[in-house]
């Protein structure tokens, strides 16, 4: 048992570490910048002052390209990890996530449809992609749940995950089909299937930030219920949690987080499994800490993966979904197998 003081130190160290990672991700790349210049640029934009002797070109590269890109990666990584952490507790399965439940692939299909048919909302065109992502993500998880209920009266969590995988693969198949039928959009659709943060702007950050903040805060408010629900529906109900209502709230909020993220960046796997898992190893299973820390760790992990994606074979970019899988899968397998051996 770790004492409360050590726990607090761990939390503070993690937050500081993750900010450092974010700074590293902004700084690293083909264009060099000194740390002091970086601070000057950020400070000047935050306060509205002149950045002084920093070249305008450098300023523009950093402020309009790298900072929003790194922030988007951080927010998306955080949002996916939080929704993963919630799904895992809710379904009492460490392999549950928005990805395995089909929310991610559904959301990417939603984004694809918007792109192909150039759909747009009449009032706020910027919101079209995230809304489509959220709606389709929710629709997919809805289909998964209805099918699971049909097949298995008890709606056991293994059934839900199996059906989720099947539906997810099916939706990916539809994506592939669309990409073939509409070759003009092939490149864009390919990006949505594998994930990318390239050319993300402040507009994306402006939408992602409030959504991530609100979603994560709502989920933190229900962390106590989530703890109880990780003992299963029956025990949760007998302790006094309205598990049906809670499940709906948490799945909808997680779908918003995933849907909006995926609609902007495409399907990115593994971060939602690996980050919450690592967080539980460090801080224990209490959701009141697991949720916020998953955001911090998942965000930092994603920012690092994006750094690798754009630098390893620069100037070409590796899809970030491939990086998270290449880095995350062996790591996850290692942790999982080691635990198995221990228990």
């Amino acid at each position: 048992m770790r004492s409360k003081a050590t726990g607090k130190v761990c939390i503070i160290a993690s937050v500081v570490g993750c900010i450092a990672v974010l700074a590293l991700c902004i700084r690293a790349g083909s264009v060099y910048i000194s740390l002091s210049d970086l601070i000057k640029i950020i400070w000047s934009h935050v306060t509205g002052n002149n950045p002084g002797n920093v070249a305008p070109m450098t300023d523009s590269i950093f402020w309009t390209i790298r900072v929003p890109r790194a922030l988007t990666a951080f927010l998306v990584g955080g949002a996916l990890s939080v929704s993963g952490a919630v799904m895992q507790s809710l379904l009492q399965n460490p392999l549950a996530s928005s990805y395995t439940l089909g929310i991610s692939s559904g959301a990417s299909l939603g984004a694809a449809l918007v792109i192909i048919f150039s759909a747009s909302l009449p009032f706020y065109s910027q919101a079209c992609l995230p809304v489509a992502g959220f709606v389709m993500g929710l629709l997919t998880v809805g289909i998964v749940l209805v099918l699971s209920m049909r097949i298995d009266r008890a709606v056991s969590n293994t059934t839900v995950i199996l059906i989720g995988m099947i539906v997810s693969l099916f939706v990916t198949g539809v994506m592939n089909l669309l990409a073939t039928i509409y070759p003009d959009h092939y490149k864009q659709l390919w990006m949505w299937m594998t994930g990318s943060f390239s050319s993300r702007t402040w507009t994306h950050v402006a939408i992602l930030f409030p959504v991530c903040l609100a979603g994560t805060l709502i989920l933190i408010c229900f962390a106590r219920e989530l703890n109880i629900m990780s003992f299963g529906d029956e025990q949760a109900s007998s302790i006094g949690v309205d598990s049906r209502k809670m499940k709906i709230i948490m799945i909808v909020v997680s779908s918003v987080l995933t849907g909006v993220s995926v609609a902007f960046t495409g399907v990115i796997g593994f971060v939602d499994l690996a980050a919450p898992h690592a967080v539980r190893r460090i801080f224990g299973p209490d959701s009141r800490i697991v949720i916020p820390m998953s955001f911090v760790y998942g965000g930092a992990f994603m920012a690092l993966c994006d750094l690798l994606a754009r630098t390893v074979i620069s100037p070409r970019e590796i899809p970030v979904g491939a990086v998270t899988a290449l880095v995350g899968a062996p790591f996850f397998a290692y942790v999982f197998l080691r635990e198995r051996r221990h228990s």
């Binding site: 048992m1 507790s89 009492q92 399965n93 460490p94 009266r153 408010c221 106590r224 703890n227 109880i228 990780s230 003992f231 299963g232 029956e234 025990q235 109900s237 007998s238 302790i239 006094g240 949690v241 309205d242 539980r280 224990g284 299973p285 209490d286 228990s343």
Partner: protein
């Protein structure tokens, strides 16, 4: 008077009902054993009373109807200890027992106060898991896990306790301590909405000898209906017990007790 009343309750898991139109009343202060063969509907009965299963018919808790009572409210009247509780995640014993205080905490982000800690500590103490409070659940033996869930049910502080095979996995000493604690608890009262209600136990147990040390009334189920409802002593004295289980229980128990006659 706080009673739980079941009227024409039918419940089950598939198309065949496990409980078939059962009606019964459990009054506050009673100590009830639910007996019967495997699959006779004992667990289903407890789950219906705890409203963990959809059912036809009516269940009332005092003046509240099962259809209208809210989850949290019900959790302050009835606590339920399932046969096998577990979770994948590494919660500690203390964290697990503390979850039983949920229905007593109000407010969105409320965390356990000193009163909650005191009650949880007392429950852990009485169930013999206080020393294990910082251990993770997956490091516990079956019996220790059982006592942890028992402690959580006690920490919930409800006047009605539903226990599904609480003696499972317990060694003989902890079984004896459980019997003592149940006796002590059942003779007390619990505050509920300003009134004090006599504590009530409804337990599924397989060892009738042990059950008779802390329980009095027996509801015996057979194929989904109440086959016997009366005192445990009468059920044994009249030999009805052998009908219910469909074999010579008395003869078997006599042979079994020969071991204890060896004690001088």
């Amino acid at each position: 008077m706080m009673d739980i009343v079941l009227e024409n309750v039918t419940a089950g898991y598939g198309f065949t009902p496990v409980l078939d139109s059962i009606s019964l009343k459990i009054s506050e202060g009673e100590r009830v054993l639910v007996a019967g063969t495997n699959g006779s509907g004992k667990t289903t009965l407890l789950r219906v009373i705890a409203r963990l299963l959809p059912f036809d018919g009516r269940v009332t808790y005092g003046t509240s109807d099962s259809g209208s009572i809210r989850r949290k409210e019900l959790a302050s009247v009835v606590s339920y200890m399932p046969q096998n509780g577990e979770t994948y995640f590494d919660y500690t014993v203390e964290q697990t027992v503390m979850l039983g205080r949920y229905s007593h905490m109000t407010g969105l982000l409320a965390s356990p106060g000193s009163e909650d800690r005191k009650i949880a500590a007392e429950a852990m103490n009485r169930c013999g898991v206080y020393e294990l409070r910082y251990r993770a659940l997956n490091e516990l033996s079956g019996g220790q896990l059982q006592r942890t869930f028992l402690a959580r049910a006690f920490a919930q502080q409800t006047p009605f306790m539903l226990l599904d095979e609480p003696e499972n996995n317990l060694d003989v000493r902890h079984n004896s301590e459980l019997t003592d604690y149940l006796n002590e608890w059942a003779s007390g009262t619990t505050e509920l909405a300003g009134a004090s209600v006599h504590n009530t136990v409804v337990a599924v147990m397989h060892d009738l000898g042990q059950a008779s040390l802390c329980l009095e009334r027996v509801i015996a189920l057979d194929k989904g209906i109440v086959a016997y409802d009366g005192s445990i002593n009468d059920m044994v004295a009249t030999g009805r017990i052998s009908d219910i289980f469909g074999f010579d229980v008395t003869g078997y128990k006599r042979r079994e007790s020969k071991l204890w006659n060896l004690c001088k």
